[in-house]
Symmetry: C2
Subunit: 315 residues, 2 copies
């Protein structure tokens, strides 16, 4: 067994996942902790206590963190890197703190196709990782989709992130499930009725030019009419939302981009649903696990950081 090389962490708003990695970036161990919003500002203490058992065994270890830990609610602000952003731009903009033993990966900003500002943080690392895990992703024009609370559609060209746009698909699902009268079921099902999910998706795609707004009331009306149970209505809502996200995104992008396989990066459940929606639209998808992509991205940034003379010196 090789020795430990560094600690890699994806520190989001509500979750922290730390990995103990060897020098190549392979995970030797992992631990979870409180999200950035839950630390009460005590980032250094939280990190120190979580890595203490590893440091006892392996000595001092540098840490590389991505996600909301670099935002205004985080440990230190790592300013957004504007697109087009190459991997080296991201590495160069990593913020060193705690005497250079901790680095934070910056997020990305762009002016999207609606001429609106757009931002991501944490996904930049997953994008870098996915490109490492799927070699073809680093070549030519490629479309990635990172579904989640705020789904990101990302256009990359030869490994450079050119543009992205966001859709708060997961957040909309959660607020409608938990706070609207459209879904009366206050359960923890997360829309897990696959038949109802597919029905919502198929129904949306029958009128893909329609605005989502004019399909949402169905979640309630089909319960009133007895066509959907409360639990199924939740999955139907998920189907409508993901179909709207996928079909809408495909319509925004040129065929030349969407004809190649589209890379989905995220949880197994979500990428499965997005893949179904892409297939429904005649597109090919390949799925990459989000946590694996994070880890691969952090490893890649670590390698590049380590190869920079001044940063090596700081470690």
């Amino acid at each position: 067994m090789s020795g430990a090389g560094f600690v890699a962490g994806d520190w989001g708003t509500s979750h922290l996942r730390l990995f103990l990695c060897d020098a190549e970036g392979a995970a030797l161990d992992s631990v979870t902790g409180p999200g950035a919003a839950e630390t009460g500002g005590r980032f250094a203490d939280v990190l120190a206590s979580l890595v203490a058992p590893w440091q006892e065994r392996y000595g001092a270890l540098p840490a590389l963190l991505c996600g909301m830990v670099g935002s205004s609610i985080g440990w230190a602000q790592a300013p957004y890197v504007p697109c087009p952003a190459k991997p080296e731009h991201i590495v160069d903009a990593c913020v060193a703190l705690h005497g250079g033993t901790v680095h934070i990966v910056p997020g990305l900003s762009c002016r999207n196709r609606f001429n609106a500002p757009d931002f991501l943080r944490g996904e930049e690392t997953q994008i870098l990782g996915a490109m490492k895990l799927v070699a073809s992703l680093g070549q030519g024009l490629q479309l990635l989709c990172l579904p989640g609370t705020h789904s990101k559609w990302v256009l990359a060209e030869d490994g450079c992130v050119r543009e992205f746009f966001s859709a708060p698909t997961g957040e909309l699902f959660a607020v409608l499930r938990d706070h609207s009268v459209l879904v009366c079921n206050r359960g923890t099902h997360d829309g897990a009725d696959s038949a109802a999910f597919r029905k919502g998706m198929a129904h949306f795609n029958e009128f893909p030019q329609a605005q989502l707004l004019h399909r949402l009331f169905e979640c309630r009306a089909r319960q009133l009419s007895g066509e959907l149970t409360a639990q199924a209505a939740e999955a139907y809502l998920s189907g409508l939302l993901i179909a709207s996200d996928v079909h809408g995104a495909l319509r925004l992008l040129p065929e030349s981009v969407t004809a190649s396989p589209i890379c989905l990066v995220g949880s197994s459940e979500l990428t499965h649903r997005y893949a179904a929606a892409l297939t429904f639209n005649g597109r090919e998808a390949h799925r990459v696990d989000g946590a694996a992509a994070s880890l691969a991205g952090l490893a890649q940034v670590h390698r590049r950081l380590s190869s920079l003379p001044e940063v090596t010196h700081e470690f």
Copy 2:
């Protein structure tokens, strides 16, 4: 001053507004009370106590009620009348209770253009009232829009309601304002920044084929970039939502329907915003006050009920 003829009430989920009317339906007095969800099932008691001062002066008065009072959470269920629905179908389906001294107006159901079930309750009375207040509405093919928590787009032909479809525009605004990270302002502004409202509307209309989902994140991103204050973001969100509702609805309907002036029925603030969005899309709108439409509709149903021999007998 003419004598009182009947009591007319719009009894919604969260509000009750009762009018003391003369025989022609002109309001002599009004009072507010608890919504259907707040009565604890004591509908008869609530009504009796609110009309007691009027009965003391004028003697026993029949009451005609519309809205959620006729739903499964209401006093008695007044089953939905299927479309196409003529005014006389609605009157015939009124439910008599309390010894025939109280009547409840039924809602409407239809299979809308998405082949989905759709329902409304309370709006049927506003539609009848609007047709009375705007004589031209009762002739030929007409489009009405009743914006609100669940906005209704209604196609009427020669006074008959042919079809409608719903958009939970108001509910989506409220849940996103109160429970999402898209708008960080937990105020009571209701999107009252008209410049930001117009900006959201204009920006949506620059890409009207886009799905709403891909524009919502802007509410947050434009705050991050300093382009919008938290308060303005709420109004911007309102602009995006209403533009999506209006443009989407116009695209669903044939030009022959949307070329004529579109009748907006609702609160002054909401119909003003919808009129702005219609004007933006090159359409003409006329606005009818929602409470006035309710009252006119109830008066019309009362007149028709009174002219039916068997119902007159019940009073």
